[in-house]
């Protein structure tokens, strides 16, 4: 594990990376913007079109991207501890499936954006309660039971999503597909997601050492003084809420929640710092946020003026990275 001083240095460097990614997102785009415009916009000053574009469009979108990336990476890291499986991700227990059913049903009914978000959150929450209730039924918290329940609920949600897509009118399909792939074009305000991200980090960091123990097995954690059942319930509820907020803000963006904690953990292991959640959780949130900001900047500039759903880019980048990591794993054991 890293010393506290090293961990803080790494986090400071990652905060620098996050700021750079946000600045890049503010500068990049079809409308050329100068650095002076950026500082004018950030200091709250009024100015020309450039300042308005930054304040009204690019800054909220970049912040929303950062918040969603951070939420997904943090939720993924928590799920990996909960399921003791480095390949778990925030969606493995059906949260995104529930949100997709809610959002697509709202779109099918032609509801306004606020209601789409509301129903997406309600769907995520319902999926969470369903999995929680079923897996918790006989108070057994065995991982396979939880995982199986989540996978089945996700499959059920997938069927409902397919049903909605097949009966939806042609002109609504594009919006639905963008939502399913993950798209920040409809992010309303970044502040709810940013607030939840900050609260999520503040809630988990005091318990990060307990999470280290949980990742090493329930019996060991219990013997060393961790209250297993409440800790697991807490992780599950928190990771689900973080995921629900991210999905409500930007649809189900893939791979950030799976690949980012994995990348950070791999880097830490290379440095001999192991799987220390005290650094891993905040680092994953910062890296996840920065990566999604960069991916979203690419998504809206690469074939501008047409925009891509950011989820397509994270998946296109995430799949090769993940396959690369999987391919190397056997070598690690030798």
């Amino acid at each position: 594990m890293p010393s506290r001083r090293r961990a803080l240095l790494v986090l400071a460097a990652l905060i620098g990376l996050a700021v750079l990614s946000l600045l890049l997102a503010l500068v990049a785009g079809s409308l050329p913007v100068s650095v002076a415009d950026v500082f004018c916009a950030l200091s709250g000053g009024a100015g020309g079109l450039a300042v308005e574009v930054i304040q009204g469009l690019r800054l909220p979108r970049a912040l929303a991207a950062f918040a969603c990336g951070g939420l997904l990476a943090l939720a993924g890291a928590l799920m990996q501890v909960l399921l003791k499986n480095p390949l778990a991700d925030p969606y493995v227990l059906g949260i995104s499936g529930g949100a997709a059913v809610g959002a697509l049903a709202a779109m099918l009914a032609g509801l306004a954006l606020a209601f789409i978000n509301l129903l997406a959150f309600a769907g995520a929450f319902a999926a969470m309660l369903l999995v929680f209730g079923l897996a918790h039924g006989d108070s057994s918290w065995t991982r396979s039971r939880l995982l199986l329940t989540g996978v089945i609920v996700a499959a059920g949600c997938g069927a409902v999503v397919a049903l909605i897509l097949s009966i939806a009118p042609e002109d609504g399909l594009r919006g639905m597909l963008f939502w399913l792939m993950g798209d920040l074009g409809h992010a309303v305000s970044p502040w709810p997601a940013l607030t939840v991200l900050a609260v999520g980090l503040l809630v988990t960091l005091p318990f990060a050492r307990e999470l280290n123990l949980l990742a090493r097995g329930d019996t060991l954690a219990h013997a060393l003084g961790v209250a297993i059942a409440p800790a697991k319930r807490g992780i599950y509820v928190l990771a689900s809420l973080l995921t629900a907020v991210a999905v409500t803000t930007a649809g189900s963006i893939g791979f950030i929640g799976l690949v980012v904690p994995h990348l950070v953990r791999l880097a830490m292991i290379r440095l001999g710092w192991g799987n220390d959640q005290r650094l891993l959780l905040p680092a994953a949130a910062l890296v996840g946020g920065s990566l999604l900001v960069l991916a979203d900047t690419l998504a809206r500039t690469v074939i501008a003026p047409q925009q891509l759903p950011v989820g397509v880019l994270t998946a296109l980048l995430g799949v090769p990275v993940f396959l690369f990591l999987l391919g190397r794993q056997p070598n690690e054991r030798q």
Partner: protein, 267 residues
């Protein structure tokens, strides 16, 4: 309320009319058992007799079916739930039968996990903790392994690492579920010698063992679980006999003597 009493007078583990069961099967009933500082107990019995279940119950990992159970004056199972758990983890250590490593980690990190109950919420492992961890590694013949990846260790090395983690925890009561699993003969002797020194230094040892010879050599007391809720507890010399072991294992055993030690071989 026991805080003013000298530590030596307070039993580290006390069971009164204890009843333990698992899956509808009763392991023991009316078990009266007291473990004091300096004691070294062996728990012997056939597969499925409930040795591990009794040990896990004593560690507070599962609740008893009846009777009273306390560790250093802390009543179980309550003391092993909620706020008192960390205090419990500073008093008793538990060595599990299985070690799992879902995530990559170094040997040093794995030992340092044992320091958890001694650290405050915002504390990071100090140089002192690292010294304690390093000397625990040395105790189990793992010096020089600190930076090794745990997933590359052999079974015996991994088992000794678990023992080192327990030593770093510095409990007063060591609850050991088959501590000699995967160990070669020389390390079996070294680990039992080391635990015997812990007992001499004022800790207490309770170990589930499979070799009555090791139990007779290293433990001063023995608890035999016959699997039909009968039990027998007492000094090793009185309890570990040909007759009792033959009944315990359902197989005739012969006692052999050499160098003033007793060994038992299947007849």
């Amino acid at each position: 309320m026991n805080a003013s009493e000298p530590a030596m007078n307070r039993p580290l583990l006390e069971a009164i009319r204890l009843e333990v069961g698992i899956g509808g099967h009763r392991i023991c009933r009316d078990l009266d058992w007291r473990v004091d500082a300096g004691d070294s107990w062996a728990i012997l019995g056939r597969n499925g007799a409930g040795k591990s279940t009794l040990l896990a119950t004593a560690a507070g990992l599962r609740a008893q079916q009846g009777g009273r159970l306390s560790v250093a004056g802390l009543e179980l199972p309550h003391a092993s739930q909620g706020a008192g758990m960390r205090a419990m983890a500073r008093v008793r250590g538990y060595l599990s039968q299985h070690q799992i490593d879902p995530f990559a980690s170094t040997v040093m990190e794995t030992v340092l996990v044992g320091r958890h109950p001694h650290l405050g919420r915002w504390d990071w492992e100090s140089d002192d903790d690292r010294r304690i961890a390093a000397s625990a590694l040395a105790e189990v013949d793992l010096d020089g392994f600190a930076e090794r990846e745990v997933q590359t260790l052999s079974g015996g090395e991994r088992q000794r690492l678990a023992v080192a983690q327990l030593l770093a925890q510095q409990p007063q009561l060591f609850l050991l579920d088959e501590p000699l699993t995967h160990l070669d003969l020389s390390h079996q002797v070294a680990v039992m010698d080391m635990f015997a020194r812990c007992a001499t230094a004022g800790a207490a040892i309770v170990a589930v063992l499979h070799d009555p010879g090791f139990a007779a050599r290293y433990c001063r007391q023995a608890l035999l679980l016959f699997g039909n809720d009968e039990w027998l507890a007492g000094p090793t010399d009185e309890v570990i006999t040909e007759k009792n072991l033959t009944r315990l294992y359902g197989h005739p055993l012969r006692e052999l003597g050499a160098d003033g030690r007793r060994w038992f071989v299947p007849g």
